[in-house]
């Protein structure tokens, strides 16, 4: 005696089809939600926590920098900033603090005194003393050396710079030895520890 196959109605077939679609949908949703959530957590874990810390640092007494004079300021990280005074009003607008980081791809420019220019050795960028690019890829892109925010409080000049330090102390000392840039008072380590809000 042969066994007959079970009789299935059209409604049963439709119900099975719907069940199959729903179960696949739930399975796909679960997988996407589960692994997607994990991927999001992993991505957020790898993404840096926030921008690097910055603070206002003391540079010099305004009266100690004559109009037309320039000075060197060394950030807590050791990076050098060239600060020049161009006016005599006694405000922050008198000063410009040029970064030594090339705007092209982030190398450090250095001052070539005999040519009166900043030069970036990575891709041959050349900058005027005021930071305007005149040769190389930065000039083609119309770039200039960036400047740091400055402010004057009670006759004292302050600069806003990153405080994260990567360079070892001996590197900073060594860099100071072979420096032909204009010398200046630099930053005051005692004042630099003050809370910026107190300034």
């Amino acid at each position: 005696m042969t066994e007959l196959p079970p009789q299935t109605s059209e409604a049963d077939t439709d119900a099975d089809g719907r069940r199959s679609v729903l179960s696949n949908l739930f399975m796909a949703s679960g997988l996407i939600a589960g692994y997607g959530a994990f991927a999001a957590i992993a991505g957020r874990f790898l993404y840096p926590a926030g921008p690097s810390a910055q603070s206002w640092q003391y540079v010099a007494r305004v009266d100690d920098v004559a109009p037309g004079a320039a000075m060197k300021y060394r950030m807590p990280s050791g990076a050098r900033v060239n600060i020049a005074r161009r006016g005599s009003a006694g405000t922050a607008e008198d000063f410009v603090a040029l970064s030594s980081t090339c705007p092209h791809l982030g190398c450090q420019v250095h001052w070539e005194g005999h040519r009166n220019r900043f030069f970036c050795p990575c891709h041959n960028g050349v900058f005027e003393p005021d930071g305007t690019a005149t040769e190389g890829p930065p000039a083609e892109a119309g770039q200039r050396l960036s400047s740091y925010p400055l402010r004057v409080r009670s006759g004292l000049l302050y600069i806003q710079v990153p405080t994260q330090a990567l360079a070892a102390a001996h590197d900073i000392d060594a860099a100071d030895l072979d420096d032909d840039a204009p010398q200046g008072p630099g930053h005051d380590p005692c004042l630099s520890r003050r809370n910026p809000r107190e300034l």
Binding site: P48, S77, H104, C107, C122, P137
Partner: protein, 350 residues
């Protein structure tokens, strides 16, 4: 012995004949010439890199305060450290060269054409992985070249419109090179890229196995009874073993005669007066000097895209102009341009 064989067969139910059938790929006769066997060379060198890399990892410390000193220890104090580091360095150099030569062979013999378009693209991914392993590798030494190479590389990514800053921050672990940057490069170099390379190699070789090796018109065997194939095992295996042996001798000789040295320690405050990346990045370095930032980066991205999509572009050209030899001339132009820019960058200080 028979009982051991039975014991093994019970637990690994694969017959010798089935295994032979599975592995014994028919190899076209042209692969008897060693210069047409360049595909196995980077794979062999990759294995050398994994072994020497694991050994170097026993002493390497990925932190700005310790990385340079740990590499100094490996180079100057650890027993045979100088040799293993030198083999790793020269292995990387030869691997990049072998991948490029293999790709050139595939290009000029038209082996990327239908149905092998996808395998060409996987090969391009392997080329990118190899170059990135080279780049992240020399970034780990924490010498001047390492620091400024990483800085420039991250800032190149930064110039990509839209997602550039995100890529830079993910590369560096911050806005600029910081205490956490080196460990990222280390993980990418020693875990992420090798894992990706193993996966891609598996797919690459599987596709070669499924599609077979490209056959060339062979005047000798077309009209006579000579076989057009020979066996992978043991004939081709011996060829690969000999190539491996020659490579090991070459690597040992290079490592001994021209051992890996160390430049000055990274100084984040001073970019050296003369700075250049490794030779395989000279072409991009010169390109970046010739053109302004965003255009230079986007044009390089476009060239890489064209290389990825070349089998399809070539197919379109050949459908439109069936008799043209455009791919050959474009290839010659591309190779000469790359060689020209590389030599130019190599010969001048700036």
């Amino acid at each position: 012995m028979a009982s051991l064989s039975t014991w093994l067969r019970d637990r690994i139910p694969v017959s010798g004949d089935a295994l032979r059938e599975l592995t014994n790929e028919p190899v076209p006769n042209h692969l008897k010439r060693w210069w047409l066997c360049l595909g196995g060379t980077p794979a062999y060198l990759f294995v050398v890199q994994i072994i020497t890399g694991i050994l170097l990892a026993f002493y390497y410390e990925a932190s700005p305060s310790t990385a340079y000193e740990s590499v100094h220890y490996i180079t100057n104090e650890a027993a045979y450290g100088w040799f293993l580091r030198s083999v790793h360095k020269w292995g990387a150099t030869l691997m990049v060269a072998a991948v490029i030569l293999h790709q050139m062979r595939v290009y000029f013999t038209g082996a990327y054409r239908r149905p092998r378009e996808l395998n060409w693209m996987i090969g391009m991914c392997l080329l990118v992985c190899t170059l990135m392993m080279g780049f992240t590798g020399y970034s780990l030494v924490y010498e001047q070249l390492s620091f400024w190479g990483a800085t420039v590389g991250a800032n190149i990514a930064d110039t990509v419109p839209g997602i550039g800053t995100f890529i830079k921050q993910m590369m560096l672990g911050g806005d600029a090179y910081n205490e956490r940057t080196l460990s990222r490069f280390y993980v990418i170099h020693a875990a992420v890229l090798p894992a990706a390379t193993v996966l891609l190699l598996f797919i690459h070789i599987t596709l070669i196995r499924l599609q077979g090796i490209t056959e060339f018109p062979d005047a000798d065997s077309a009209n006579n009874s000579k076989p057009r194939y020979f066996n992978f095992f043991p004939d081709h295996m011996y060829t690969e073993l000999i190539i491996g042996l020659v490579l090991m001798i070459l690597l040992s000789a290079l490592a001994t005669i021209l051992p890996a040295t160390m430049g000055p320690r990274a100084d984040p405050l001073t970019t050296p007066e003369v700075i250049k990346p490794e030779w395989f990045l000279y072409v991009t370095f010169r390109w970046l000097k010739l053109f302004a930032g965003t255009f230079a980066v986007l044009s390089m991205g476009f060239i890489v895209f064209v290389m990825f999509a070349w089998p399809f572009i070539d197919g379109w050209i050949r459908r439109r102009w069936p008799a043209s030899e455009a791919s050959v001339w474009i290839g010659i132009f591309g190779v000469l341009t790359i060689i020209g820019l590389t030599v130019w960058e190599g010969l001048v200080a700036h």
